[in-house]
């Protein structure tokens, strides 16, 4: 939709915090099976926030230069970062019971936590659903039409405003889901939003703006390079990721899978 949201990482963090406080604090001690089903709660909260933010803060900027969007979402980032601190306090929040409950299994010499399989499965499912949603439903069609030419879509009778809200809400849902699903394995800490945002930017830049398969491939590239970097040469692990992103932008400005603008 050509919205660059610098506060996207904060929605990821909010998803993590909501799920962590729900599963790790308020309902701790409930049967774990129920807790697994409550994991996506953070995603719904993030989506709700997105549904409020888009019409109020972002919509006024579609007609103005793109740079203003960066500024307003940067302001939003600062606000949300402190909102999280205000609500949940400065201490990390964990929901590790869900992680340890599943135990681990070993492949040869390597020990692998079973919970990570759940994360992988969720990620795969989310990707498939999102793809089907965008490319196989009527709503997805309207979405892509609006992204390509907002004015023409509007002239043809598409309720452009509604499409924008829905798309943004889905984006926030995915961010929240990401946060919610990783929180049992790590824990929710302040600043995780900014960290996730920067990684997400690299992923999207490598994959290509406005391309779902690009985002998926980009995420795999970033994940693999990160792991290699951490084991082989930890000092330049992050620098290497940024350099890859800069290199991709240089060679293919639209990213690996993006359409040239």
């Amino acid at each position: 939709m050509r919205i660059v949201n610098l506060a996207h990482g904060n929605l990821y963090a909010i998803g993590a915090f909501v799920t962590a406080s729900l599963v790790g604090n308020w309902l701790a001690g409930t049967r774990t099976l129920i807790l697994y089903f409550l994991l996506p709660a953070g995603a719904f909260v993030a989506a709700a926030i997105g549904a409020v933010l888009e019409p109020t803060l972002l919509r006024p900027f579609y007609r103005r230069a793109e740079e203003y969007q960066l500024l307003v979402t940067f302001g939003l980032l600062m606000i949300l970062e402190d909102a999280v601190r205000f609500i949940w306090g400065p201490y990390p929040l964990s929901a590790s019971t869900l992680f340890s409950e599943l135990g681990s299994f070993s492949i040869g010499d390597a020990i692998y936590p079973t919970y990570n399989l759940l994360v992988i499965a969720t990620g795969g499912l989310a990707a498939v659903f999102l793809w089907a949603f965008v490319y196989r439903t009527r709503f997805g069609l309207l979405l892509r039409a609006t992204a390509q030419d907002m004015r023409r879509a509007s002239a043809l009778g598409v309720n452009v405003n509604r499409v924008y809200v829905q798309a943004f809400t889905i984006g926030c849902f995915m961010a929240g889901l990401g946060g919610a699903i990783v929180v049992p394995g790590q824990s929710a800490v302040l600043g995780m939003g900014v960290e996730a945002l920067v990684l997400a930017f690299i992923v999207v830049v490598i994959g290509g703006l406005g391309s779902l398969e690009g985002a998926l491939v980009g995420a795999l590239i970033v994940g693999i390079f990160r792991e290699i970097g951490i084991t082989v040469f930890p000092e330049i692990e992050l620098a290497m990721l940024y350099l890859i992103a800069a290199f991709v932008l240089l060679v293919r400005p639209a990213g690996l899978f993006g359409r040239p603008a």
Partner: protein, 334 residues
């Protein structure tokens, strides 16, 4: 093709000069009127003003929003810190020389890559590149001190003429304040000349209409690169001046939210005006020091201010003040 000579005094009325002299005099007399804390705070503001002035050559005059100028500020700061650590340099002039050189190199590398793009691509590419420096400063702790940063002692000024004194606060609020003030005034003057030169006019033409500017015969990419170099050097100088004042440099000043703060300053003052970034930086500095003292949630408060600014007052402080003054004048003459 002959170049059209535009007199540099164009747009420079006697009134503007009088105001500038008046403000400079006020700034020079200030340490006698207020306490040491206020003077040092103002020195921070003037230093940020140099950085914002540099950023605004891109944002306001060339139409490129860099979300990575922390890279140059940090380059300035770390070059000074590393010169102290490895070469035991003490002279501020040598620091500045080293900084100008280093920021030119960094700006050339970054600029060469990024000026091919505009709009959001330019912004994000700058962000990514500046993050490279941040992660290097963060990870190579045996060189840069990692997240602990590097300490920088008070330097000697004017080739050792003004040496290290015992009273550091007194030094910073007097000798060093004037040093910063003189450099600030010099930077403002240089930027004024650049902006009003044919080169500056060409940048504004590129900002307003890239295609037309190309047809007129302006080499867009070269002009953007030169603007990027100048911008980077200005912000680098600000970083070098900042370090002795702060006494410490940490990777925070290379991290991208700091880039956002420099952008914030320009928007706050009004990036459409020459004086905008100067006013914005000084006001931002006061605002931040006040907000940080007033509440734990200063970040949220600054965020709200930024959002309101962008929504309601896109021309910033200078633009809004101008509008109010114009209105009052019209009301008075009518």
């Amino acid at each position: 093709m002959s170049t059209v000579a535009i007199p540099l005094t164009q747009g420079l009325s006697i009134k503007t000069v009088a105001w500038a002299v008046l403000i400079a005099a006020a700034l020079a007399l200030l340490p006698f009127a207020v306490g040491e804390y206020q003077t040092i705070l103002l020195a921070y503001g003037l230093i940020f003003a140099i950085a914002a002035l540099g950023l605004n050559l891109l944002l306001g005059y060339t139409g490129l929003l860099s979300f990575g100028h922390a890279a140059f500020f940090g380059t300035g700061a770390y070059v000074v810190a590393l010169m102290v650590k490895y070469f035991h340099v003490q002279s501020m002039e040598l620091f500045l020389l080293g900084t100008v050189g280093a920021s030119l190199v960094v700006a050339f590398l970054f600029g060469f890559v990024s000026v091919r793009y505009t709009k959001i691509f330019f912004s994000i590419l700058n962000l990514a590149l500046s993050q490279v420096l941040w992660s290097l400063a963060y990870k190579f702790y045996w060189v840069t001190g990692g997240s602990d940063g590097l300490r920088v002692p008070t330097p000697t000024l004017l080739g050792g003429a003004i040496g290290v004194t015992d009273d550091k606060i007194h030094f910073l609020s007097h000798a060093y304040y004037y040093y910063v003030l003189v450099l600030f005034l010099a930077c403002v003057l240089v930027m004024w000349v650049i902006v009003h030169s044919p080169f500056g006019k060409a940048l504004q033409a590129i900002r307003d209409n890239e295609t037309r500017a190309r047809f007129v015969g302006i080499r867009i990419r070269q002009y953007r690169l030169v603007a990027y170099l100048v911008s980077g050097v200005f912000t680098g100088i600000a970083g070098a001046l900042w370090v002795p004042l702060n006494g410490l440099t940490t990777p925070d000043i290379l991290y991208w939210p700091f880039s956002g703060e420099i952008v914030f300053m320009c928007v706050l003052g009004g990036f459409q005006y020459f004086t905008g970034p100067i006013v914005g930086a000084v006001v931002f500095n006061y605002l931040k020091s006040w907000v940080v003292g007033a509440t734990t949630y200063w970040q949220a408060l600054l965020g709200i201010i930024l959002v309101v600014l962008v929504l309601a007052l896109p021309t910033g402080i200078v633009g809004t003040a101008k509008r109010i003054i114009d209105k009052a004048r019209r009301a008075a003459s009518a």
